[in-house]
Every structure is written in C-alpha cells, then in structure tokens.
C-alpha cells in the first residue's frame, strides 16, 4: 500500500538516497527532451517549437491518470499524498512574476540546472539570479508577510473546488490537452522556422 515511505514500508532514512536516483532520471529525461536549451524552451511562446507544451501536458496528464489509477486499484492512498497548498493571491502574483522572469531568462530552476550540467553559462548566471532573488525575498518578507499568508484555501484539489468528480476532471484535462496538441501542431507548421 503506497506511498511507501510515509507508511514505513521503506525506512525513512532511504528517502534522500531515493531522491538522488529520482533526480538522475528526472535530469536525464529533461535534458534528453531538449529542456537544456533556453531558445528551445522559449519556442513554445513564439510558436516555432512547442516542446514545453507537449512534454509538460503529457507529463501532467500521465501522472494524473497514473495516480488516480493507483488510487483506484488500492495501491496508493491518495489522502497521504502531499498536495500543494493553495494560497490564492500568492499563487497568482507569484505566478505572474515568475512568468516575467521566465520570459526574460528563458529557464525555470529545474531546466537551468540541466543546462548548467551541460555547460551553458547563461544558465549559470540565471541560477545566480535565482539565489539573489530569493535573498531579496528574505529581506522583503516582513513587508509581505501578511500578503504571503493571505487567501489560504487549504490543501485542496481542483475537482473538490469545482465540485466535480476527479475522474471527470482528468477527462476534461485530457481533452483540453489533446486540443492544445493539435493546435500546436497546426501553428508550428505555419510559423517561420528558427535556427537555434
């Protein structure tokens, strides 16, 4: 019955060793899919290379379906999984600021680590920027503390809030994702090719 470590089927001391192995697989797949190149990542926003969209939504859909299936078979106790908490204002504002940073930097932290591993210097500068940004946040925190803790809705899932069945929700997401993939293929064919 999963998840294994919270249920003590594997000793919790192995957790960080497993983290390393998972990280190796994660980094390998990210780099092999091309996420170590900032111009390739930004292609999603300009239409010449939709790899981010495809990989991201395929991964999200696969993992959503996979976890729900495991829960359905009784292999995983969904209630024990960590659900990212929803702080309404923080999520939106944080997301918007991150989007600007993404548009400028062309990386997100995970992909910047992959890019550093293959030698991209702009990714190295980007992660230095990450550190500085976090550091500035620690200074600004006392001013933002109330805003930061505002709007706490809880560790909720989207289907709970929308009031629909989780399976129906995933089905809708799959349809939306398929629609986006088709649209992406059409757009990519029409857009001028870019050499990177």
């Amino acid at each position: 019955m999963g998840p294994l470590i919270p249920n003590d089927i594997i000793s919790a001391d192995w957790n960080n060793a497993i983290a390393l192995l998972i990280g190796i697989c994660f980094g390998f797949v990210l780099e092999a899919s091309g996420f170590s190149s900032s111009r390739k990542i930004m292609g999603t926003f300009f239409g010449y290379d939709f790899v981010v969209l495809r990989v991201f939504f395929t991964a999200a859909v696969t993992s959503m379906m996979g976890i729900l299936y495991l829960d359905y078979f009784g292999w995983v106790n969904f209630g024990q999984l960590y659900i990212h908490p929803t702080y309404l204002m923080s999520a939106i504002i944080g997301g918007v600021i991150m989007g600007i940073g993404f548009a400028l930097g062309g990386y997100c932290p995970g992909t910047s680590y992959c890019a550093i591993a293959i030698g991209k210097l702009d990714a190295l500068v980007y992660s230095v920027g990450l550190f500085l940004g976090i550091y500035i946040f620690t200074f600004a925190y006392p001013l933002m503390e109330s805003f930061y803790n505002n709007g706490f809705i809880g560790y909720v899932t989207a289907p709970e809030i929308l009031g629909i069945n989780a399976n129906l929700f995933v089905f809708i997401v799959v349809i939306v994702a398929l629609g986006m993939f088709i649209a992406a293929t059409i757009i990519q064919r029409k857009v001028k090719k870019v050499e990177y």
């Binding site: 000793s11 001391d13 192995w14 060793a17 390393l20």
Partner: protein, 313 residues
C-alpha cells in the same frame, strides 16, 4: 550536597566508557595513506615493466605529490595523539602484534623512499638543479641506476601501507563494523583507485589516460564487490554485526553512504569511464573528482560509524 539524578539506560556521560575518540584527523590520514600507496604502487609497477617512457605522469610526476601527502598524513596522526611529546617512543621498538607499530615502521621506510624516488627525477623538472655536495650527486647516480630495485621495494611497501590502513581499523575486535578481514584489502583497493584517479587527472598523454582509466574501472568494480561482501558478511554474523550493517541499510548513515560513496563516488564514475571507453568524450576532471571525493567520504563514514557500533549496549 549537589546531586544529579540519571534516569537512563546506558551510555551515561562521565560514567560509562567514552567511545568516540577518533575524530577527523584519522580519516584524513587513512585517505592520504591510501592515496600515496596507490600512486607509489603504480609508479613502481610501471617502472618494473619498463614502461617509463609511455607512462611519464605515473612514474615521474604523480609521485611528486606523495611525500607531501605522507607528511600531512603523519602530521594528522601526530595531532590526534594525546601525549604528543612522546610520539618518538613508537620508533624505539618493533612490536609485531601491534598494527600501529607496523604502520609506524612502514611509514618510516616508505616516506624516505618516496623522497628519494622524487629526488631522482628532480633534475627533469628543474634542469639547473644541483646537489651542492659531491656525495649527494654520487648518491643520486646510485639511486638512478637502481630504480628497478627501488621500484620492487616500493610496490611491496605500498601494498603493505594500503592494507595496513584497513588493518588499523579491523584490529579493533570490539567494533563490529570494523572487525572483519576484508577491510584491509578494501582500503587497499580504494587507495589504488584514488591513486589511479589522480594519475588519470594529471596526465596529458592519451595512452596513459586510457590505461589508468581502465585500471581504475577494474579497481572500482573490485571495490564494489568487496563492499558488497563486507555488508553481506556482517548481515550473516551476530546480532551486533547485523546492527552495524543496518547503519548503512536504513540507519543514520544510509544516505551519506549510498549517495556519496556508492552512487556518486563509485557507480557514476564507473559509468562515465565505460562511456569514455565506448568513445564518448568526457572531461576527465569529473570522474576523477567524484572518485577522490567518494574515497574521502568513505573513510570518514567508516571511522564515524565504526565508533558507534559496539558489543556492550
């Protein structure tokens, strides 16, 4: 009247014997000893095989690191002593039953030998070097002529030094983690592997790099085998030995052992070396640094974990 109440099992401070006495100086000494043994072994063996021309870094340049490493290692030992002013008494007697005596004497012989070896090559680094005194020049000529003889002595002493770093720990029969006979060969192989990694990193010759990386790959696989069988042996032993093995299999040293020693220190560099042999280009610093770091962390973990395992309670 001042009273203190103890409500506990055992391991009461100031009453039960204090067991954690070896700190960071000992692992550093073990590591440097193994590293020096590795470099000297390869220098000696390639000299005997007559390959000095092909393996210049192995035979000439890497041994330049050895005297420094041995002296720093001895300094670490000295710093660890409680009665430091009496260290010289170790050299007034030879006690065959004591691993420490063996170690002191092996180091006493191997350090000057490595200095002589390095001295014979000084003229190649500093062409203007002159030995000021005539008899030193004659001694250098003598040493250069007898390089092969020195090499034979060097590989013997290097193997003894490498194994001794493990025997030093495995002689403690009250520490179940240490008290197994494979620790000596394990530390020897680990020392040879770190020595090969240093040579692999230092060399500019393609042939030498390939040779040392193949040797290092073999040594890593043998080392993994020894570690596996050490743990298997402990799991098949008495309950204190099983508890000792459990420190690495779900206990407090699980992460540092598996992440830094096994995966990042042995398996991942081995994979990189195999890829290198298959034709992919890899910057040599990465596997070399990982192997060197893994060896150091391994010594630290063994010394730290060993002092936690015990028979009493």
């Amino acid at each position: 009247m001042k009273e203190e109440l103890f409500i506990s099992g055992r391991d009461i401070p100031n009453i039960d014997p204090f067991l954690h006495i070896w700190h960071w100086q000992i692992p550093i000494y073990l590591y440097l000893g193994g590293l020096a043994a590795g470099i000297l072994f390869f220098a000696g063996i390639f000299t005997i095989m007559g390959k000095e021309k092909d393996m210049k870094t192995t035979v000439k340049w890497a041994p330049f690191l050895v005297p420094g490493a041995l002296i720093i290692g001895l300094l670490m030992l000295f710093l660890d002593l409680k009665h430091q002013l009496f260290f010289w008494q170790l050299y007034t007697t030879i006690r065959l039953q004591s691993p420490m005596s063996w170690g002191a004497w092996v180091l006493m012989f191997i350090t000057p030998l490595s200095l002589i070896w390095v001295a014979t090559y000084l003229k190649e680094v500093f062409p203007q070097w002159s030995w000021k005194f005539h008899f030193l020049e004659k001694m250098e000529l003598l040493a250069v002529k007898n390089r092969k003889g020195m090499a034979w002595v060097m590989i013997t002493l290097a193997v003894i030094l490498g194994i001794y770093t493990g025997i030093l720990l495995s002689a403690f029969n009250a520490r179940p983690l240490w008290n197994n006979s494979i620790l000596g060969p394990l530390f020897l192989v680990s020392g040879l592997s770190t020595g090969a990694a240093v040579i692999m990193w230092m060399t500019k010759s393609h042939y030498e790099r390939k040779m040392m990386s193949r040797i290092d790959l073999v040594l890593i696989i043998v080392e993994l085998f020894f570690i596996t069988h050490m743990i298997m042996g402990m799991l098949a032993g008495s309950s204190v030995q099983i508890a000792a093995a459990d420190l690495f299999l779900g206990g407090q040293f699980t992460v540092s052992f598996w992440v830094f020693v096994i995966i990042l220190g042995l398996v991942f560099p081995a994979v990189l070396e195999i890829l290198e042999l298959a034709g992919y280009k890899i910057p040599v610093a990465i596997p070399a640094i990982l192997i060197l770091f893994g060896g150091l962390v391994f010594r630290f973990i063994m010394v730290e974990a060993g002092q936690i395992t015990r028979y009493l309670y």
